[in-house]
């Protein structure tokens, strides 16, 4: 498991990178009422906005941690955004096929826990 400074988690599944948001992010957001997922097939650069999450009060962007192609999205969370609050570590958003797998810029669990304090 790796983590970004924007409170996303990444895990490897074969040659795909699966991305979600952390418990910390989910708590900060509050009740999620809407999720917009990227289109399957979309090619993204690192830092591109790929998803929008809306809580009752506000909208948040999810930025792609890596460059790649979106090969799968989690329709379950689009249909029921409350799953993100219920179990953020398994409520994945999208899966990326990445050209270059470079995880050196991301945190491991220890470093992430230190970040959130």
């Amino acid at each position: 498991m790796h983590y970004t400074v924007d409170h996303e988690w990444l895990r490897l599944e074969g040659d795909l990178v699966v991305v979600g948001i952390t418990e910390h992010a989910s708590e900060q957001l509050g009740d999620v009422v809407f999720v917009e997922l990227p289109e399957v097939g979309r090619v993204v650069a690192a830092g591109d906005e790929v998803s929008v999450i809306e809580s009752v009060k506000a909208a948040s962007d999810i930025l792609s941690p890596l460059a790649g192609e979106v090969v799968e999205v989690n329709e379950r969370i689009a249909a029921d955004p409350s799953l993100i609050n219920a179990d953020p570590m398994s409520a994945w958003f999208f899966k990326l096929k990445v050209a270059e797998l470079d995880l050196s810029g991301f945190m491991d669990e220890t470093a992430y826990k230190a970040l959130i304090g």
Binding site: G30, D31, V33, V52, V56
Partner: protein
């Protein structure tokens, strides 16, 4: 600045935000969604002490500033009103209580200083600085409050009374900002925490933050100053013509009377409810169009968000009065125009005890 209940909010685990210069609770561990639903189902307690409580005595001078018929307001009754400006816009909306010996005005926190200055230019006005203001709202509000203050059962919507709780002088109106039956209670700051905790000890009551306060009033179709109404907004377009009393319509004699009365005779725009299709909330500022492409905006969303009671997005905007309910318009969200349907306000049934 902090209200008398700041320590209680922190002790209850509130997430605090800055609002109108005050540190206020936006939500508690329950969360905005659950807090909102709790108010509609049982009873929610809100700290609204940041709002301004002002006493005035000169009814005639006050009438020049607010198009309300104060002569027709009986002692022990409250009216909703708004300060107008010379251009026919709204400086603030407020509640006015006739207490016999004086009038109690309750104004928005963000407008407190400006309202006081505006009043003082025309009449004597005392800002009360040592009283907290709490709101208890929901279908269980009467049952709960009557356990502490039995006489509230006799109050009807927009009545005012003074009551004693354990030697503490309470000023109570039966009103609120949620669409539910409920009460607003003014009491000395020194006793605010004790009273709040007495209410919280009742099983039906939960503490509610400003986040849910906003979603509740939006469902009830109530405007929020600085968002749905401002100094450039016509009260008629804002759907607040009902607060201009008949005698004041006939006689005028208030700031901006000319453009406002002209508007009343022939309203060009009106505030309506909007139901975005799909699940994406459309929030304040989203530009609205009559066609799916092209054309100039016909308005913009003034308040919008997610409705916990309806489980869908809702919004409000001031639009051409010719657009009927049921009409489909488009909001531009993240570069795409998405449909919304015009709907009457409120979005939910209100439950005032009339």
């Amino acid at each position: 600045m902090r209200t008398a209940l700041y320590d209680l909010h922190v002790a209850l685990g509130a997430r605090m935000v800055e609002f109108a210069g005050y540190e206020m609770p936006v939500s508690y561990p329950l969360g905005i969604l659950a807090e909102h639903l709790h108010v509609r189902a049982q009873a929610g307690l809100f700290d609204v002490s940041h709002m301004g409580q002002i006493l005035v005595r000169d009814a005639a001078a006050l009438e020049a500033l607010v198009p309300v018929d104060l002569r027709a307001l009986p002692v022990g009754r409250q009216r909703y009103g708004f300060f107008t400006n010379a251009a026919g816009g709204i400086l603030d909306d407020l509640m006015i209580v006739n207490r016999g010996s004086d009038y109690l005005l309750v104004v928005n926190a963000g407008c407190k200083a400006a309202d006081l200055a505006h009043l003082r230019a025309h009449l004597a006005a005392d800002l009360i600085e040592d009283r907290a203001l709490l709101a208890l709202q929901g279908p269980a509000a009467e049952a709960v409050l009557a356990r502490l203050v039995p006489q509230v059962s006799a109050l009807k919507f927009m009545d005012y009374c003074e009551a004693d709780w354990q030697g503490v002088g309470l000023w109570i109106t039966r009103s609120g900002y949620t669409g539910e039956d409920g009460f607003e209670i003014s009491l000395p700051e020194a006793h605010a925490r004790g009273f709040a905790q007495a209410l919280l000890a009742e099983p039906e009551v939960a503490m509610i933050g400003l986040g849910a306060r906003d979603s509740l009033r939006l469902e009830a179709g109530m405007p929020l100053y600085g968002h749905d109404i401002d100094a450039q907004t016509s009260p008629v377009a804002a759907g607040l013509g009902f607060a201009i009393s008949p005698r004041r319509r006939a006689e005028g004699g208030f700031w901006g009377a000319e453009p406002i009365l002209r508007d009343l005779a022939d309203p060009a725009r009106r505030r309506v409810g909007l139901l975005p299709e799909g699940r994406a909330p459309m929030r304040e500022g989203v530009e609205l169009y009559s066609e799916i492409s092209g054309g100039a905006p016909i308005g913009a969303i003034s308040s919008g968000g997610f409705s916990p009671s309806l489980g869908r997005p809702i919004a409000m905007a001031i639009l051409p009065a010719s657009l009927p309910f049921g009409a489909v318009i488009y909001g531009e969200l993240r570069g795409k125009r998405l449909p919304l349907t015009l709907a009457p306000l409120p979005f939910i049934q209100t439950n005032y005890k009339r």
